[in-house]
C-alpha cells in the first residue's frame, strides 16, 4: 500500500531544520576534539596491512560524548605484556559539519595515499583533550538514529585508545605531538656542543729508536702485556705499549707503539714483552744514532668534540737534508673527555734540523649550531643513517630520536650512527658532531623492556665462549 500523499515524510526543509538543531546542540553540549586522518605510507598487499602510517593533519570538530559518565571498555588491565589501557570512547559528530569542513580537505591529500572518502574513517585518530588521549576510530556508525524524516544526521564514532608502534604523529599541535614524543622506541644521541682542536708539540732527541718491529705477535693473552726496553746508557730510556687484538678467540699483540723513543742509545736496545697471560710475543727495533728525530710528543691542549682518534701531521724535515724521513705519530682520543689522551710515536723520523710543527686534525664540527625540531629528519654525514627527532636538549646536547633507518640492504646494526660524524637536521639545519649512540634506555618511558637487564644478568651465567648469536656479549 502506498504512502499517504497528504504527509511529506520528511521534506528538505524539515531535514534541514533537524540538522541545524543537531549542529547547534553539538556546539552547545559537545567538546572540541581534533580529528587526525591517517595517511598510508606503505601497505603490504598480500597480507593486507598498512605497515607504516603517518598522522600529520588536524581538524577541529565539536563532538558529543555519548559515554558521558566515564570511559567504556575494560579500563586498565595488567596483561602478560604489561599494562594495557582499554578505555573506549563513543563520540557523535555532525554529518553535515564533517562533510562541509573536513571532507573537502581530505580530497586534496589523495597523492599522499589517502583514499578519497566523505566520511570519518576507521583507523583515523581523535584527540580527546579532556583526557589528553589519542583514540583510534574502530567503527563508524552512520545509521543511528535510524532515518528520522528519511535522513541520517550524525556519525557515531566508536573509539578505543591508540596502539602505538612507530607511526609518525606530527600534527603541528604541540599539545598532541608532545603526548607521544617519549613513547615508542627511542634512542639517544650524545652530541658535542662546541669542539676545540687539540694541540701538541714535538720533543727532539738523538740516539733514539726509530721504529719497533713486531716479529712475533704471540698468543693466549688475557690482558695487555707489558713492553720493557733496555735502559739507555746516557739519555732517556725508551718506553712503549702493546696493543692487543682478538681473532677467533685468540688474543695476540697487534701493534707496539712508543710513548718515548728514548735517547742516547748507541746500539739497538732489547725489547721484552711479558705478562698478560700470553706467550711468544717478540719485537726488535732500529735506532738512529746520528741526527735528530721526534722522540715523543707533548700534548699541550687535549681539545674536545672528538669521537674518533684524529689524524696527526708532523712537519717534514727541512732541506738541505739529503734523505728526509718524516716522523709518524698516532693520536688517541679519550671518550670520557672527547679530547686526545696521548700521542704515540710510530716512526720517530730522521734528519730533523729543527723541531717540526705538529698539527692535530680538528673535530668534525668545531661549533655545533642550531636547534633540532620535533619530528624533523636528521642524517648522519658518514653513515647516511636517518631518524626522526623526538626531543632535543640543548643544554645537555642530548638528542632523542626514533624511526632509525639504516639503508644497508635491510640489515640491522646496533650502532647505526658512526661516532664523529655530523648529525644534520633537514629542516632546522642544526649540526652537531656525534659523541656516542645509546639504545640502552630505548623504552625508558614504557618501563616494560628488560632486554639489557636480562642480557647483563645472563652474561654472568652463560658461557658464550664460541659466540652469542642473540646478543652483544
Amino acid at each position: 500500500m502506498a504512502l499517504n500523499p497528504f504527509f511529506l515524510q520528511g521534506s528538505l526543509s524539515e531535514q534541514r531544520l533537524v540538522q541545524d538543531l543537531i549542529n547547534e546542540q553539538l556546539k552547545i553540549y559537545g567538546v572540541d576534539v581534533t580529528y587526525i586522518p591517517r595517511k598510508f605510507v606503505r601497505t603490504q598487499d598480500i597480507i593486507r596491512e598498512v605497515q607504516s602510517s603517518k598522522f600529520d593533519d588536524n581538524y577541529l570538530i565539536e563532538a558529543y560524548i555519548v559515554n558521558y559518565d566515564g570511559y567504556g571498555g575494560s579500563g586498565d588491565i595488567l596483561t602478560k605484556f604489561g599494562m594495557s589501557i582499554r578505555d573506549e570512547l563513543t563520540l557523535v559528530i555532525s554529518k553535515e559539519r564533517f562533510e562541509d569542513f573536513i571532507t573537502p580537505f581530505m580530497g586534496q591529500d589523495q597523492d599522499d595515499g589517502i583514499v578519497e572518502y566523505h566520511r570519518p574513517r576507521e583507523g583515523d585518530l581523535v584527540y580527546f583533550p579532556l583526557g589528553q588521549r589519542l583514540f583510534e576510530i574502530k567503527f563508524v556508525e552512520h545509521e543511528q538514529p535510524f532515518y528520522q524524516l528519511n535522513k541520517t544526521y550524525v556519525y557515531e564514532l566508536k573509539c578505543e585508545l591508540f596502539e602505538f608502534e612507530d607511526e609518525v604523529i606530527d600534527t603541528s599541535i604541540p599539545e598532541i605531538d608532545s603526548r607521544v614524543e617519549d613513547k615508542g622506541y627511542i634512542t639517544t644521541l650524545s652530541l658535542a656542543g662546541i669542539g676545540t682542536t687539540a694541540t701538541a708539540t714535538a720533543v727532539m732527541g738523538t740516539g733514539y729508536i726509530r721504529r719497533i718491529y713486531l716479529n712475533d705477535d704471540g698468543s693466549g693473552f688475557t690482558s695487555t702485556p707489558t713492553v720493557a726496553i733496555s735502559t739507555s746508557p746516557t739519555g732517556d730510556t725508551a718506553s712503549a705499549v702493546a696493543i692487543t687484538t682478538s681473532k677467533g678467540g685468540v688474543v695476540s699483540v697487534s701493534e707496539i707503539y712508543m710513548t718515548n723513543a728514548g735517547s742516547g742509545y748507541t746500539t739497538a736496545p732489547s725489547i721484552t714483552i711479558s705478562g698478560g697471560g700470553g706467550t711468544g710475543a717478540a719485537a726488535t727495533c732500529s735506532i738512529e744514532t746520528s741526527g735528530n728525530g721526534v722522540i715523543r710528543y707533548q700534548v699541550t691542549g687535549i681539545g674536545s668534540g672528538y669521537a674518533i682518534s684524529p689524524g696527526i701531521q708532523i712537519e717534514n724535515p727541512i732541506a738541505p737534508v739529503t734523505y728526509p724521513n718524516p716522523a709518524i705519530g698516532l693520536a688517541v682520543y679519550s671518550p670520557s673527555t672527547t679530547g686526545i689522551s696521548t700521542i704515540y710515536v710510530i716512526d720517530a723520523g730522521a734528519g730533523y734540523g729543527s723541531t717540526p710543527a705538529v698539527t692535530v686534525q680538528g673535530p668534525p664540527v668545531l661549533t655545533g649550531s642550531g636547534d633540532y625540531l620535533f619530528n624533523e629528519i636528521i642524517t648522519g654525514s658518514i653513515s647516511g643513517t636517518t631518524a626522526r627527532v623526538k626531543s632535543w636538549n640543548a643544554l645537555r646536547s642530548v638528542l632523542e630520536i626514533s624511526y632509525v633507518a639504516v639503508d644497508d640492504n635491510g640489515r640491522i646494526t646496533t650502532t647505526p650512527f658512526t661516532p664523529g660524524e655530523s648529525i644534520v637536521g633537514s629542516s632546522s639545519s642544526a649540526i652537531y658532531s656525534l659523541i656516542s649512540y645509546d639504545s640502552d634506555d630505548a623504552y625508558d618511558s614504557d618501563k616494560y623492556s628488560e632486554n639489557d637487564e636480562i642480557e647483563e644478568a645472563a652474561d654472568l651465567l652463560i658461557d658464550f665462549s664460541e659466540s652469542n648469536p642473540f646478543g652483544n656479549f
Partner: protein
C-alpha cells in the same frame, strides 16, 4: 632431615638464560619506496610481576595517551616437571674444588622447565619478522652452557627445546573488538637441580705413601721399601701448574707404619 638451607638460584638462572635468547630481535619497517624506514628492537620482559609495580612503573602519571606500545614479547615459566630419562644413580656423588676446599655434591635431579614466549604485534608482518628470526636457531633445541652452581663451577649444557608454535589472530567478528595478534612459542629447558653443597671431610690429598713388603703377609714379611710422592711445590692447589716430588726409602728395621700415630713402630 631436610632443612639444610641452600639456594643456588638454578631456576632463576634458567629463566634468565631463556630470556636472553630473545633480547636482540629487531623488526624493520619500510617506506613507500621500499627503503628502510625504521628499525625497532623488540622489547622483552618476564611477564608475571607485581600488579602495583606494573601500575606505578608503566603508568606513573595516570593519563597515558595511548593503550600500549607494540610490538612486545613476554616470557614466563609455565611448568616444572621431573625428567626420569636423565636421572643418574641416586647415591652417586661428585667432588668439586673451590679455593683448595673439597666440596661434595650429590648428583643433581633432572627437571624440565616449561617456558612460554608470547609475541604481541600490531601487524602480522611484524610477527613474521620476529618468528623468523627465532625459529631457525632451534633444531629443535639450542644448547646453552650455564653456570648452574657457581660455588663449584658447575657448568652444564642446558638444551632449550622448541616444542610448539601457535598463533592467535582474532580478525573476525564485529568491529567492537580490536584484532589481537599473538604468537605463542612453547619451550622446554632441560635443567638440573642441585642439592646442598657440603664441605667434604676428605680434604686434598697432598701426600701418598706406599710401603712395600717382601711378601703379601704383612704380619710376617719385612718392610723393604717406602715410596712417597708429594706435589711440588708442596702448597700447590689443584688448578696450579705443579709437578711431583718422589722419594724412595729402603728399610731393614722390620718396623711397621702406624696410620693412626703416623710413625713407624
Amino acid at each position: 632431615m631436610l632443612g639444610t638451607y641452600f639456594y643456588h638460584e638454578i631456576i632463576r638462572k634458567t629463566v634468565i638464560s631463556f630470556g636472553t635468547l630473545f633480547n636482540q630481535i629487531y623488526i624493520v619497517h619500510k617506506d613507500g619506496d621500499g627503503n628502510n624506514n625504521s628499525q625497532i628492537r623488540v622489547p622483552i620482559a618476564y611477564g608475571p610481576m607485581q600488579k602495583f609495580l606494573a601500575r606505578i612503573e608503566q603508568q606513573p602519571n595516570l593519563n597515558k595517551p595511548i593503550q600500549i606500545t607494540l610490538p612486545r614479547m613476554s616470557f614466563e615459566m609455565t611448568s616444572i616437571q621431573y625428567d626420569p630419562t636423565r636421572k643418574a644413580s641416586l647415591t652417586q656423588t661428585f667432588k668439586a674444588c673451590e679455593g683448595g676446599n673439597i666440596k661434595k655434591v650429590f648428583m643433581p635431579v633432572p627437571y624440565n622447565l616449561g617456558f612460554e614466549l608470547n609475541i604481541l604485534c600490531k601487524l602480522n608482518d611484524d610477527a613474521l619478522q620476529i618468528v623468523e628470526q627465532i625459529l631457525p636457531f632451534f633444531q629443535p633445541a639450542f644448547n646453552l652452557t650455564i653456570d648452574l652452581v657457581d660455588s663449584i663451577g658447575e657448568k652444564r649444557d642446558i638444551p632449550m627445546i622448541l616444542d610448539n608454535v601457535s598463533f592467535q589472530d582474532d580478525y573476525e567478528g564485529d568491529f567492537s573488538t580490536r584484532r589481537a595478534l599473538i604468537y605463542t612459542l612453547q619451550f622446554t629447558a632441560k635443567t638440573y637441580l642441585f642439592g646442598p653443597v657440603a664441605d667434604s671431610s676428605d680434604g686434598l690429598i697432598r701426600k701418598v705413601q706406599v710401603d712395600m713388603y717382601s711378601g703379601t703377609d704383612t704380619t710376617t714379611a719385612k718392610r723393604e721399601m717406602r715410596y712417597t710422592v708429594v706435589p711440588d711445590p708442596i702448597n700447590a692447589e689443584p688448578d696450579d701448574d705443579f709437578g711431583f716430588s718422589e722419594n724412595w726409602n729402603f728399610f731393614s728395621d722390620s718396623k711397621t707404619y702406624s696410620p693412626t700415630q703416623q710413625i713407624d713402630i
